[in-house]
């Protein structure tokens, strides 16, 4: 009988990247591959995970670390057949998730160039939280079902 043990490399990702947005696509690709290995829905692979993770990474790089390549971003992903847990840690002082989340769909905000990142992250993930733990951490959770 074949043991139903998922290889660790299909479950977890733990990597530090320099604060450079050019690294984002490669990280997203690695996380999506792990979700695909666990048969996450196509929409999760094409929309929810890539967009929400890109937002978390770009926030960490550009806002948390102020685009300073000397600073790093620590990314952890833990994927199993029930849920994906992502943690993106930067070297910033953090922010108030509630206060910083705007509604970009209101008439006064619709034509703004910015202000959609946190909104999308929270609409595309099942749970988003921010906390400080030796750095500023954003944790995203998406259930497979």
């Amino acid at each position: 009988m074949t043991p139903r043990v998922t290889p660790a490399e299909q479950r977890q990702l733990d990597v530090r990247i320099p604060s450079d947005v050019q690294y984002i696509e490669a990280i997203v690709e690695q996380v999506v591959l792990r979700c695909a290995a666990h048969s996450y829905p196509r929409r999760h692979l094409a929309l929810n995970v890539p967009v929400a993770l890109t937002e978390a990474l770009s926030n960490a790089i550009l806002r948390g670390n102020h685009d300073d390549a000397a600073r790093s971003v620590h990314v952890r992903a833990d994927v199993d057949s029930s849920r994906l847990v992502l943690e993106v840690r930067d070297e910033g002082t953090g922010f108030d998730l509630e206060a910083c989340t705007e509604d970009p769909t209101t008439p006064e905000n619709l034509l703004r160039e910015d202000g959609r990142g946190l909104f999308l992250m929270r609409r595309l993930m099942d749970h988003v939280e921010r906390f400080s733990d030796g750095g500023n951490v954003v944790r995203l959770i998406l259930h497979r079902a």
Binding site: V21, E25, V51, T54, S58, P104, T105, L111, E113, L120
Partner: protein, 110 residues
């Protein structure tokens, strides 16, 4: 990821291949601004070969649409897949842009 620019009549067609995200949005913006400098006033962005778009990519499209309208022009979109359509609906940007199912349909009355 890359952007290709072609012309059909007086419409400049920009095809986005790959992602439109924070790392390459300025490249798209500059390509379209260059076309505006040449006198182009009609731009169609074709997403048939696009993966995903983040908030920065959406922001650039909004910025360009505003600029083109100020100049008497128009920026339209075509070939959004279901996921991209959902993204535009979530952000209500589907109300801001004229979005066509195909490139040909977008060009019909541009």
């Amino acid at each position: 990821m890359s952007f290709s620019v072609t012309t059909r009549g007086d419409v400049c067609i920009v095809e986005v291949e790959g992602q439109l995200i924070v790392g390459n949005r300025q490249e798209l913006k500059q390509k379209i601004l260059d076309e505006l400098d040449k006198g182009t006033r009609k731009v169609l962005v074709d997403f048939a070969r696009t993966g995903y778009i983040d908030s920065s990519g959406l922001g650039v499209l909004v910025s360009l649409a505003k600029k083109m309208r100020e100049m008497g022009g128009d920026l339209r979109l075509a070939n959004l897949n279901d996921d991209l359509q959902t993204l535009f609906e979530l952000t209500k940007l589907d109300t801001l842009f004229q979005i066509s199912e195909t490139r040909e349909r977008a060009l019909e009355n541009f």
